[in-house]
């Protein structure tokens, strides 16, 4: 009897909790609340340490092609404070989805699965794939073909960095030829240890990290043939990712982005990090297009 009334009380409490959570979600979703919030309290921007997109500079300030672009735009939009949050690459998109961060940067590819989780801005840059190989390229790796021809070859990719990995799978590289590791340094270490034969990342990232590390035991594979499917080159297009309820803010952001992208100031930023106008997306490439796949 006693036990009965207790379990009933628990059941009522559990039911109330379930109801409360059910109501809590819709209330939180309010389009303009986001704009008000970031203008008032500042915006939290998550980045993963990776040159040339975003990294902590020697002066302890976040530098890179992405922060320099958003700093100007956000300021113009009336956001007073930008709070950078250094995090793991694999937590960028999930963190924005969970509203841990208002926005995520660091050369994030616009991809269909991500489009359902977050809102992407218009395209900013393209990021061709590239591989780091051992000095002298002993396995003659100049593209994905080498892996299709020789099934004993393995490549490392970054956990959560599914862009280049999906290109490899699309051109017929087997699942078991791809080893997922936390970042480029661990990929290079795995390669030196003989576990993999190439580290697949974006070419820009590869060039930047080797420049920084001055590691002469490895090199960037040159020339490198991009993945191609049905006569179409598979090249990643990057954008910034926003929270699902930032729709109105992103619309406004895109207006500013349109005037910045490809402008002389933007080219100056790219040049500063060793890039050129080749890193700009072709005219007519839209986020909606990339979201379709």
């Amino acid at each position: 009897m006693l036990n009965d009334s207790i379990s009933r009380r628990y059941a009522i409490a559990a039911g109330a909790l379930a109801l409360a959570t059910a109501f809590a979600v819709p209330i939180a979703a309010n389009a303009d609340a986001f704009t008000d919030k970031v203008k008032k309290d500042g915006i939290t921007v998550a980045y993963a340490e990776e040159s040339p997109w975003a990294f902590l500079g020697p002066d302890k300030k976040v530098a890179g092609t992405d922060p320099e672009v958003i700093d100007g735009i956000l300021k113009k939009m009336g956001v007073k404070e930008i709070k950078y949050q250094n995090t793991e690459w694999s937590t960028l998109v999930p963190g924005v989805r969970a509203k841990r961060f208002d926005m995520a940067i660091t050369g994030i590819f616009i991809k269909p699965d991500r489009c359902t989780q977050v809102i992407f801005t218009d395209p900013i840059m393209i990021a061709p794939d590239g591989m780091i190989v051992m000095k002298g390229n002993p396995k003659k790796i100049n593209g994905f073909d080498a892996f299709v021809k020789d099934r004993s070859l393995k490549m490392g990719t970054t956990i959560g960095g599914t862009g280049p990995r999906d290109h490899a799978l699309a051109v017929g590289v087997n699942r078991d030829q791809i080893v997922e590791l936390p970042d480029t340094p661990t990929q290079i270490a795995a390669m030196k240890a003989g576990r993999i034969h190439a580290a697949l990342n974006t070419d820009q990232g590869n060039v930047a990290i080797l420049e920084q590390a001055k590691d002469t035991a490895v090199e960037v594979a040159r020339p490198f043939k991009q993945a191609e499917k049905d006569g179409k080159l598979l090249v990643g297009v990057t954008a910034f990712a926003f929270q699902p309820d930032a729709g109105a803010f992103v619309k406004e952001f895109n207006k500013h982005l349109a005037t910045v992208r490809g402008s002389p100031e933007h080219l100056k930023i790219l040049k500063k990090y060793g890039l050129s106008e080749d890193a700009l997306p072709a005219k007519g490439v839209t986020t909606a297009m990339m979201c379709k796949g």
Binding site: E49, E50, P94, T184, D215
Partner: protein, 220 residues
Amino acid sequence: MEHLYESRDLFIEGTLVTIQFTLISAVFMVLIAFVAAFGRLAPWKPIRAAALCYVEFFRGTSLIVQLFWLFFALPMLGVTLNADTTAVLALSLCLGAYGAEVVRAAIVSVPRSQIEGAIALNLTPVQRMRMVILPQAIRAMLPPFGNLLIELVKATALISLITIHDLTFQARMFNLRTVQIVEGFGTTLIIYFILSQFLAYGVRLLERRFQRGMPQVSRI
């Protein structure tokens, strides 16, 4: 080596963060362990059941999944805890579940005759626990708690995955900037080892403290 010297700030900052989280989580771990253990031994069935559910759930699921769930999934249900709170919560709940079994086992291991003697002396149940059972039980639970503490300091490495800049996170940053994996992770290994040696030493001191007044048993 010069890379290491240049980046010493990273490792120092990271080590301090790791120590902070270890100590704060350790306090909560012990508290939770005692509460859950007493829950497991409570005379009232719903409390026993709740304590059992807690222990089995947090012992039976992976800490990294608990961390990710609290950090990335809970906000979607409308509850957003900051990263530090999430880390302490997950670490102390998970390790506390193991601790609860340590406390419970130690209490149960006190010989029945001791409790009978305490009853014969007309001690109340609270007095029995405080003056007879716990002093003996704590001696028995210290070595396994020392074990858990070392487990805890190593488990803090996982909080680097929820944006906390602990030792492991800073080692990763060092690797990303210099690609000197051998130095980076090598240094990190040594620092974790030193930290756990300190903890083990601290627990040994406590053991000696609680051994006072007891017949000297040969120290192994």
